[in-house]
């Protein structure tokens, strides 16, 4: 080997190493923040440096903040009309709102019609009864459940046809004074989907958002196994900590996983837990499952389906999942049995 060759070899090695190192130059950053959607938002992204990541996180946080205020039904904010403003004006007058509210309502109503489902955004009056009892029991003010009479009374005012959406004027009017909106079953997933899209449009890639039970993973992690790993919580372990914490890990790229579970929001009366996913037929919490995790690319659809299937009996619920293309699910039944959708296997391999 001549000296020149050695030199060339060394140079090309140098170039090779530096080109490899350029690809590896992005590193993993993680952070979390509170104050939106009544939950904790965790984020992981592969960024060039800390300041790029901080910029990304700020964009995410400010968008989450906006959506969270728009979809809030408990608090009004100066200068914006939100879901609470619409509810406050029920039976009074149409309210001019941001198009992001119109789009969410239209999406929810359309999707629920399409799947002949149980997720009604006009179910606010019944959900309010449960919400108030949960707050009161948790704070120690009372120690009882709502009565069936109370729930049935509220259930008279849940007709979606009383919600009048005028897209042209960008207004929403609830015709009946006792009817109210609750977008809790879909809002977070819908917002996360829209925000992820907008971040991608701004040029960001390879990030994961976990908004309290609602995961959206874009692109892929920069590492050997280039799939995101999303662990599915074991509901039993949340409550007593004695068992394996994860029942499964979902591995995928460009994916959303949304879990609805009995342990997320609940209260306890006489030793029995009552969770927050209310069946529109019984008017009591759904009884079939401990948790349902839906896996598909669209976080809004995942969020909708996780609530809707939670209120369906397992055989019918799984039929629904298996009938939708590119949607998979993991059901953890009330008795602990785990049921998988038919094409789940591709997501369970690293």
């Amino acid at each position: 080997m001549t000296l020149k060759r050695v030199g060339l070899l060394a140079l090309s090695l140098l170039l090779f190493i530096s080109s490899v190192s350029c690809e590896k130059v992005r590193t993993e950053y993680s952070d979390s923040f509170f104050g939106t959607f009544d939950t904790i938002i965790s984020v992981t992204a592969y960024s060039k440096n800390q300041s790029d990541f901080d910029k990304f996180k700020e964009e995410l946080e400010s968008e989450m903040f906006e959506y969270s205020r728009l979809y809030d039904k408990y608090v009004e904010f100066e200068g914006i009309n939100n879901i609470k403003t619409i509810n406050n004006n029920a039976g009074i007058k149409p309210v001019k709102v941001d198009e992001r509210i119109i789009e969410l309502l239209e999406y929810s109503i359309k999707t629920n019609k399409k799947y002949n489902g149980k997720v009604n955004v006009a179910f606010g009056s019944v959900l309010d009864v449960w919400h108030n009892y949960r707050e009161d029991v948790v704070s120690g003010a009372v120690k009882k459940l709502p009565s069936l009479e109370e729930l049935e009374f509220a259930n008279q005012y849940t007709n979606i046809d009383n919600v009048i959406i005028n897209k042209e004027n960008s207004t929403v009017f609830i015709k009946d004074a006792n009817t109210s909106l609750d977008v809790g079953a879909v809002a977070k997933g819908y917002a996360v989907e829209k925000i992820a899209d907008s971040l991608v449009e701004k040029g960001y890639s390879d990030f994961l958002i976990n908004a309290g039970g609602n995961v959206k993973a874009v692109g892929s992690p920069v590492r050997k196994n280039a799939k995101w790993g999303i662990g599915i919580q074991n509901p039993e372990a949340v409550k007593d900590g004695s068992q394996d914490k994860l029942v499964e890990v979902v591995y995928a790229n460009d994916i959303s996983v949304v879990t609805s579970g009995v342990y997320q929001r609940y209260f306890t009366v006489e030793g029995k837990d009552y969770h927050h996913i209310i069946d529109p037929d019984s008017l009591y919490p759904g009884q079939y499952y401990q948790s349902i995790s839906i896996i598909c690319e669209d976080s809004a659809l995942c969020d909708y389906l996780s609530t809707n299937t939670f209120l369906m009996e397992p055989i019918k619920a799984m039929e629904q999942i298996n009938s939708i293309e590119n949607v998979e699910a993991i059901f953890i039944l009330a008795n602990g049995e785990i049921v998988y959708s038919s094409n789940i296997q591709k997501y369970l391999e690293e």
């Binding site: 030199g7 979390s32 999303i230 900590g241 995790s293």
Partner: protein, 121 residues
């Protein structure tokens, strides 16, 4: 055989490769057995998870007591209204967290299970 420039070049290449390998290795390395407690997204304190202890956090609005025992962490006391954090865990490794939402507190081990990026549920 080699003149001094060749040798310098080879040394440079090897040195750069070494630095790269070291840098890469370090970025993938584990932060050890540390329990991290953060409040409102800022790291409040880090504890050696090998040491059994009761960690009392008594701030203006927050009161939380975390027990660290045999490498497991558990929330023992909290002044939050819902008490959900008291019913979580004990946690034993990264990716598992105890969150006290009202007090904006996160308790987690720094060491992550490499293939799991997040936990949903």
């Amino acid at each position: 055989m080699f003149n001094k420039y060749d040798i310098a070049l080879i040394i440079t290449v090897v040195a750069i490769a070494g630095v790269m390998a070291f840098g890469l290795g370090e970025s993938l390395g584990s932060p050890g057995n540390q329990l991290s407690i953060s409040i409102d997204s800022k790291e409040y304190a880090v504890y050696n998870s090998k040491e059994n202890q009761k960690i009392v956090i008594d701030l203006e609005d927050n009161y939380n007591v975390i027990e660290l025992k045999d490498g497991k962490a558990k929330m023992l006391e909290a002044n939050c209204p819902d008490g959900y954090c008291l019913r979580q865990g004990p946690i034993t490794q990264g990716n598992e967290t105890i969150v006290c939402l009202p007090n904006k507190m996160i308790v987690e081990f720094k060491e992550k299970q490499s293939s799991v990026d997040t936990v949903v549920g």
